[in-house]
C-alpha cells in the first residue's frame, strides 16, 4: 500500500503547489482569474479541454455504464459528447470568442436583455453542475476507498478539500496547468492499461468476440428503448456547444481559429481514451468479474486483481485527475455563475478586482462543501445521474444560444419563451414515470425551438444595435 500512497500524495501536493504558483498571477485581475488572460496556446488548451470533459464519468462511469448497459448504449452517449465538439467548433467557437466576455450568461443577457435571463440561466447552471460535481465526488470516493482502503466519507472529504483549495486560489490558470498534467496522466493510464490487456488477450476485435460469446448482451442494442439511446446521444451532442465549463475554454484561447483547433484535437484524444476503455478493459472485466453489485467499480476491480501496486497507485492518481480536472472546471463555472452572473452587477462593481477574486474563493468553497455533503449519500450509476442533470442545462440553453447566435429574428420574447419552456418541459418529462431514461430531451428541445419560433415571428423584433453587433461577431 506504501507505493500507492506515495504516488497519490505526490500528485495531490503537486496540484496544490500549482494552485499556489498560479495564485501569484491570477489574483490581480478578473480577466486573469476567469479566462487566464486569454492567452492559452492551442495544444495546451486542447489537453485542458480533453481533461475538463474527461471526468470521473469518463473513466469510472464509462466502464460502469458499458458493463451494466452494454457497449452500444455507452457509445451512443459518448459519441454524442464527441460530436458536440465539431458542432461547438462550427457553431459557437468563433462568434463567442469574438464576443470576448467571461460566461455563456454574458452572451444570453446581451442577446436577450431581461432579468429573467440574468437570473434563470445561472440558477440552471448551478443546479446542473452541483449534480455533476456530486457524481465526480462519488468517483473519487469509491476509487480511494477501493484501492487505498480509506473510508468513503474521508476519501470524498480529503479529495474535495484539495481540489477546492487549488481552484479557489489559482483560478483558470491553475486549472489549465493542472488539467494538462491530469489529461496526460489519464491518457497514459487508460491507454496503457488497454495496451497491456491487448498484449495479454489479443486485439480489441478478438476481445469483443470472446466477451460476446460469454455475455452476448455486452454488444447488443437491447438494454433500453431506442428513445433512451437517442436521448443520451442528443443530450451530450447539444450540451457541449453550450456547456459553460467548455465554453469558458473557448474564451481562454488566443484567437477563434486556435479555439476551434483545440476543440477538435481534444476530442480525438478523448475518443481514443473512451474507445480503449470500452473495447478492452470492459470486455475483459465482464468475462472475469461478471456479477459486480456496483458496476462503477469494474475498472477498480480489474486494477486491484490484475495489476501491481505501482500501476494501482497510478490508477488512483488518474481517476483523481479525471475527477479533479472536470470538477475544478465545473467549480469555476459554478462560482462564476454566482459571483459574476448573479452578483456581478451589484457586488463586484463595488469591490476591487482583488477583493472580487477573494469573493470568488469563498463561493467556490461554499459550492464545493455543499456538493461534498450531498456526495456522502452517493447515487447509483454516476454517468446516468449526471447526464440527466446536463439534460436540464441542454434543454434550457441550446436553443436560446444557437438561435441567438445564428437567427436574426431571435428576439427577447423568443429567448425568454425558449428558455422557460425548455426547463419546464424537460423537468416535467424527466420526472414522468412513463419516459425511458434520458429521453425527456427529445421532447424538451423541440418544444424550446417551437417557443423560440413563435416568439421570433410574433414578438417585437430585436434591437438593430444587437443585430449589428451579432453581424460583427461572425466576421473573421
Amino acid at each position: 500500500m506504501t507505493i500507492e500512497y506515495v504516488l497519490v500524495i505526490a500528485y495531490l501536493v503537486g496540484c496544490i503547489g500549482i494552485g499556489l504558483l498560479a495564485s501569484r498571477k491570477v489574483l490581480i485581475s478578473r480577466d486573469e482569474y476567469w479566462v487566464a488572460g486569454r492567452r492559452i496556446g492551442t495544444i495546451m488548451n486542447a489537453m485542458a479541454i480533453m481533461a475538463a470533459l474527461a471526468s470521473g464519468g469518463s473513466i469510472i462511469g464509462v466502464m460502469g455504464y458499458a458493463y451494466s448497459k452494454g457497449i452500444p448504449y455507452t457509445l451512443a452517449l459518448f459519441a454524442g459528447a464527441v460530436l458536440g465538439f465539431p458542432l461547438a467548433s462550427i457553431l459557437v467557437a468563433k462568434p463567442l470568442r469574438n464576443f470576448g466576455k467571461f460566461t455563456i450568461t454574458d452572451f444570453l443577457v446581451f442577446r436577450f436583455p431581461h432579468p429573467l435571463v440574468r437570473y434563470l440561466v445561472p440558477v440552471v447552471i448551478i443546479v446542473s453542475f452541483t449534480v455533476y460535481i456530486i457524481a465526480q465526488m462519488k468517483a473519487a470516493g469509491i476509487t480511494v476507498e477501493f484501492l487505498l482502503g480509506i473510508e468513503y466519507k474521508w476519501a470524498v472529504t480529503i479529495s474535495t478539500v484539495i481540489f477546492i483549495l487549488y481552484v479557489s486560489i489559482g483560478g483558470m490558470l491553475a486549472i489549465t496547468w493542472t488539467d494538462v498534467i491530469q489529461g496526460a496522466l489519464m491518457l497514459c493510464v487508460v491507454i496503457g492499461t488497454a495496451l497491456i490487456m491487448m498484449f495479454r488477450e489479443g486485439s480489441p476485435i478478438a476481445i469483443m468476440e470472446m466477451a460476446s460469446a460469454h455475455v452476448p448482451a455486452l454488444g447488443q442494442v437491447a438494454h433500453q428503448p431506442l428513445a433512451s439511446y437517442l436521448g443520451s446521444f442528443v443530450i451530450w451532442a447539444a450540451a457541449i456547444p453550450v456547456i459553460p465549463h467548455i465554453v469558458m475554454r473557448v474564451f481562454t484561447a488566443k484567437d477563434a481559429h486556435g479555439a476551434r483547433i483545440s476543440l477538435n484535437v481534444a476530442m480525438i484524444l478523448y475518443s481514443l481514451m473512451i474507445l480503449a476503455a470500452v473495447f478492452t478493459i470492459v470486455p475483459v472485466g465482464k468475462i472475469h468479474y461478471p456479477d459486480l453489485r456496483d458496476a462503477d467499480k469494474i475498472f477498480l476491480q480489474v486494477m486491484q486483481q490484475e495489476f501491481p501496486p505501482i500501476v494501482r497507485g497510478l490508477a488512483v492518481a488518474a481517476v483523481l485527475a479525471a475527477v479533479m480536472s472536470t470538477t475544478d472546471a465545473l467549480l469555476l463555472a459554478c462560482s462564476s455563475a454566482i459571483s459574476h452572473d448573479l452578483l456581478g452587477k451589484y457586488v463586484q462593481k463595488k469591490l476591487s478586482e482583488k477583493a472580487g477574486n477573494y469573493l470568488n474563493i469563498g463561493i467556490a468553497w461554499i459550492i464545493g462543501l455543499v456538493a461534498m455533503y450531498l456526495a456522502y449519500s452517493p447515487p447509483p450509476l454516476i454517468t446516468q445521474f449526471y447526464s440527466a442533470a446536463i439534460g436540464l442545462l441542454t434543454a434550457a440553453l441550446f436553443i436560446p444560444v444557437m438561435a441567438g447566435l445564428w437567427w436574426k429574428k431571435a428576439n427577447l420574447a423568443g429567448g425568454i419563451a425558449s428558455l422557460v419552456v425548455g426547463v419546464v418541459v424537460y423537468l416535467f418529462f424527466q420526472f414522468s414515470p412513463w419516459m425511458p431514461p434520458l429521453s425527456a430531451i427529445l421532447i424538451a428541445l423541440p418544444a424550446s425551438a417551437l417557443a423560440m419560433g413563435i416568439g421570433g415571428y410574433s414578438g417585437k423584433p430585436g434591437e438593430p444595435a444587437i443585430i449589428e453587433a451579432m453581424t460583427k461577431l461572425h466576421r473573421d
Partner: protein, 72 residues
Amino acid sequence: MSNFFPMPSGDRWFLLTIIIFSIISFLPWTQKIHVAGMALFGWLMAALMIFSPAIALIRLIRHRVSNRGEQK
C-alpha cells in the same frame, strides 16, 4: 435578405454530413446486424467518435494553410 447569419458553405456541408451519418446510425437495421460481437450501431458510433473531430481538424488545418498562402 436571409434571416440567418452567414455560415461558410464547407461548414454547412460538414454539419449536414455528420447529421445524416448520425441519423443513419440510429436506423433500426444497424441494431440487428452484428459484427465482431457487437451491433453495427456500436461500430458506427465508434467511427463517429474518431472521424467527426478528425475531419473537422483536417478542414481547419487546410483552411489555415490556404489563408497563409493567400496572405503571401
